[in-house]
């Protein structure tokens, strides 16, 4: 009887273990080919508005029509995109093709987890058609790891009604003018010291401030990728931001008025001006239909035009088993045809000159200012250590804005801490 029990126990447990193992292996194999013999290419990206999602599906559908042997499976990673993506790359579970923001690109390119795309490129693809700085953002050591699918620049959004009420005829042309205008646009009707409408909605993050440095001759990072923004030039560039917030009290952070970000603040009428990107346009049109707003190029900084660009590329996973199909997908999506569909509604701007010309965004009333910026925009990218640098900058810059320490000290502390963390991590 004992023997029998042992026997049955052994049989059952081996059966269980066996089923676990087969469960694992079948999981790995699934997805490489769908039942009808098509190659399945997985693609990951972050979430977007429903309209944008629809447009992406439309683009992918037209790709599948042209390539009947390839099936594209798009997965949305809705939160903490890079954390998820890196973890999947380590685990060998990353999609064949995925979005990559320029600011994160150096970190991934140097680790050798991306497939260099130079060998795949044909003359037909016409690399020269791309805006050069946007492709350069995804190059390292002469190799191209991704092609930009679209980008956004920053532009000044202004509330036309508020401008009219303040007696202002048009948007400010220089940063000095912007500060003067902001004084006129700050409205505190009940006199409680807390304006109902601020002149400017301020985004304090480094990603939204760094483009001011260049005009003053200041640097964000040195050639080794260490933080280098604690210079007199950088103080000169950023002091007006702090002064406007603390002394003039004509700018406000979104958190001061209980908004999540600048676009929300602007839409709710808490700020008469904000410097935001392309992403704010559909947001404002959808949520604040009554709002009358205009856009203008970012006011000149010390006589120079400057703005930031945020390019996003399609890159290929080096571990991908379907590289040829993956390239077909990338080359279609960043090619003239695919990009035309994808950027047709203006959620993001085309990175190809020919497509931009054809779609005519330069003449668009709202998007014109954003397109204009493309020629002189600085991509948001500064080496592998950017996450550490911007984290420390954001913390210390906040504390300078709150008046806990002068800007000079804040920048020094941010630079020192960032460089300490960088050297400790290497």
């Amino acid at each position: 009887m004992n023997k029998k029990k042992w026997l049955s126990a052994t049989v059952i447990s081996s059966f269980l273990i066996g089923s676990i193992l087969t469960g694992c292996s079948s999981g790995e194999e699934s997805g490489s080919e769908s039942s009808n013999g098509k190659t399945v290419v997985e693609m990951s990206g972050w979430g977007a508005s429903p309209e944008e999602q629809e447009l992406l599906e439309e683009t992918l559908a037209s790709f599948e029509e042209e390539h009947p042997d390839i099936d594209v499976e798009f997965q949305t990673i809705s939160d903490q995109y890079m954390d998820v993506m890196k973890t999947r790359l380590i685990g060998g579970e990353a999609a064949d093709v995925f979005y990559l923001d320029a600011s994160e690109a150096p970190g991934l390119m140097s680790k050798g987890v991306l497939e260099p795309l130079d060998e795949y490129v044909t003359d037909d693809f016409d690399v020269d058609d791309f805006e050069q700085p946007l492709v350069d953002a995804f190059k390292q050591d002469g190799r191209t790891y991704g092609f930009p699918k679209d980008f956004s620049t920053l532009a000044l959004f202004y509330n036309k009604k508020a401008f009219k009420e303040a007696g202002l005829s048009g948007p400010p042309k220089t940063m000095e003018e912007l500060r003067e205008y902001a004084k006129k646009l700050t409205v505190d009707e009940d006199g409680d010291g807390k304006p109902e409408q601020y002149g400017l909605g301020l985004a304090k993050e480094l990603a939204r401030q760094f483009y001011k440095l260049d005009a003053y001759g200041a640097k964000l990072v040195d050639k080794d990728g260490n933080a280098a923004f604690a210079s007199n030039e950088a103080i000169e560039a950023l002091q007006p931001v702090v002064d406007q917030y603390r002394k003039d009290k004509t700018s406000a952070l979104p958190s001061d008025v209980g908004a999540g970000w600048g676009g929300e603040m602007f839409g709710q009428g808490e700020a008469a001006m904000v410097i935001e990107g392309n992403w704010a346009v559909p947001f404002l049109e959808n949520n604040f239909a009554d709002l009358e707003f205009g856009t203008a190029e970012v006011p000149m900084i010390k006589g120079e035009q400057a703005t930031a660009a945020f390019p996003v590329a399609y890159v290929m996973n080096k571990e991908s088993k379907k590289k040829d199909a993956a390239w077909e997908l990338i080359s279609y999506l960043t090619g003239k045809e695919g990009m035309k569909i994808w950027t047709s509604k203006g959620f993001a701007l085309p990175t190809r000159k020919s497509v931009a010309e054809e779609l005519g965004y330069a003449d668009d009333e709202i998007r014109g200012a954003l397109v204009e910026g493309a020629s002189y925009a600085q991509p948001w990218q500064a080496g592998e250590n950017l996450p550490t640098i911007s984290n420390n900058f954001d913390n210390q810059f906040t504390s300078a804005l709150l008046g806990e320490q002068p800007l000079e000290k804040a920048l020094k502390k941010a630079e020192d801490t960032a460089n300490q963390e960088i050297s400790a991590g290497n």
Binding site: T87, G112, S255, G258, N395, Q396, T398, L402, Q420, E421
Partner: protein, 319 residues
């Protein structure tokens, strides 16, 4: 239970002998042990895979420089990861924030739980209703709770409106570095105290009425009974409550993560140790240093718990 032995042996004569089992032939004893382990097998398997191996692996990682992206590699670096904390200003800030959080939340939370339990233990009307109402916050998921509180903490939110209405100063609960951590403290005390209240309440109902009756005959009033009988009798429970809240508060993560969107801001004011571990592990992929931080956190909790044990054991009423 009354049938005694769990194995399928027939009852033996020496069943009542306290040394039963030791005298059995080795083969049988071994077989019995094997059977025991066989039945525990699934549990050992699960605990081993999901608890023991990760613990040892984390300790191993904490002594290595780990490279994950683009080919995993380990490089033994001795105590480097631990020495790095000394110069890591964010590690020190996170430690300070966490310590402040523990030092404020644990006493208030324990005290509040005790008071609430004492009130509910008295013969007030509708105490069942109050028990349910008080316990409700504990049932809510902490993520949902945090999101709701963030709405209430909004500069134009409910809490500032109420404060302004009664002419108290209003605060920027979420964005002011001096306030942000305190906002989380308030929320957490409100949410966790009722859980410990239930534990206190159960313990209070376990205290024999005869002790209180004797005290009444001796002329003790309610306060004397509370301080001289209830609190001393609750000491083992208080130990449990304090240990659990210390561990829980040291592990503060989800609330500050949601509050700051993962950054620990504004100005590092809501950066806790666990949040820092998360940032190093998954944002910077520095698993070695993150593991070292985790090991240090485990040691801190261990030491604090041992100190508490010593502290509470001195006058323990019954073992």
């Amino acid at each position: 239970m009354s049938k005694g032995h769990p194995s399928n042996q027939p009852l033996e004569k020496n069943n009542v002998n306290p040394n039963y089992g030791k005298r059995k032939p080795i083969g049988k004893a071994l077989k019995e042990t094997m059977t025991g382990y066989f039945f525990m097998g699934p549990a050992i398997f699960v605990i081993g895979i999901f608890i023991l191996i990760p613990i040892f692996y984390a300790i191993f990682l904490s002594f290595n420089k780990v490279e994950l992206l683009g080919g995993t590699s380990y490089q033994f670096t001795g105590l480097d990861n631990f020495l790095r904390m000394e110069v890591d200003s964010r590690a020190l800030i996170s430690l300070k924030n966490t310590a402040e959080y523990v030092a404020i939340v644990v006493p208030i939370q324990t005290f509040l739980a005790l008071i609430l339990a004492a009130v509910l233990n008295s013969d007030i009307k509708g105490k069942n209703l109050f028990r349910i109402i008080f316990f409700l916050p504990t049932v809510t998921s902490s993520a949902v709770l945090t999101l709701i509180f963030m709405w209430m903490y909004n500069p134009d939110g409910l809490i500032n409106h109420v404060l302004a209405f009664v002419n108290l100063p209003t605060y920027n609960w979420l964005a002011d570095p001096a306030i942000a951590l305190k906002s989380i403290m308030i929320m957490n005390i409100w949410a966790t105290a009722p859980f410990f209240m239930i534990i206190y309440l159960a313990a209070m109902q376990d205290i024999s009425d005869s002790i209180y009756e004797a005290a009444t005959i001796d002329g003790a009033n309610w306060w004397q009974k509370f301080f001289k009988i209830t609190i001393p009798m609750l000491k083992p429970v208080t130990f449990f409550v304090v240990v659990m809240s210390v561990i829980g508060t040291f592990q503060l993560f989800d609330q500050s993560y949601i509050f700051s969107g993962g950054s620990g801001g504004p100005n590092n004011s809501t950066l806790t140790i666990v949040l820092l571990i998360y940032q190093y592990a998954f944002k910077l992929l520095d698993m070695g240093y993150a593991s070292a931080l985790a090991v240090v956190l485990a040691i801190i909790i261990l030491v604090v718990t041992i100190i508490q044990r010593k502290f509470f054991a001195e006058e323990k009423l019954h073992d």
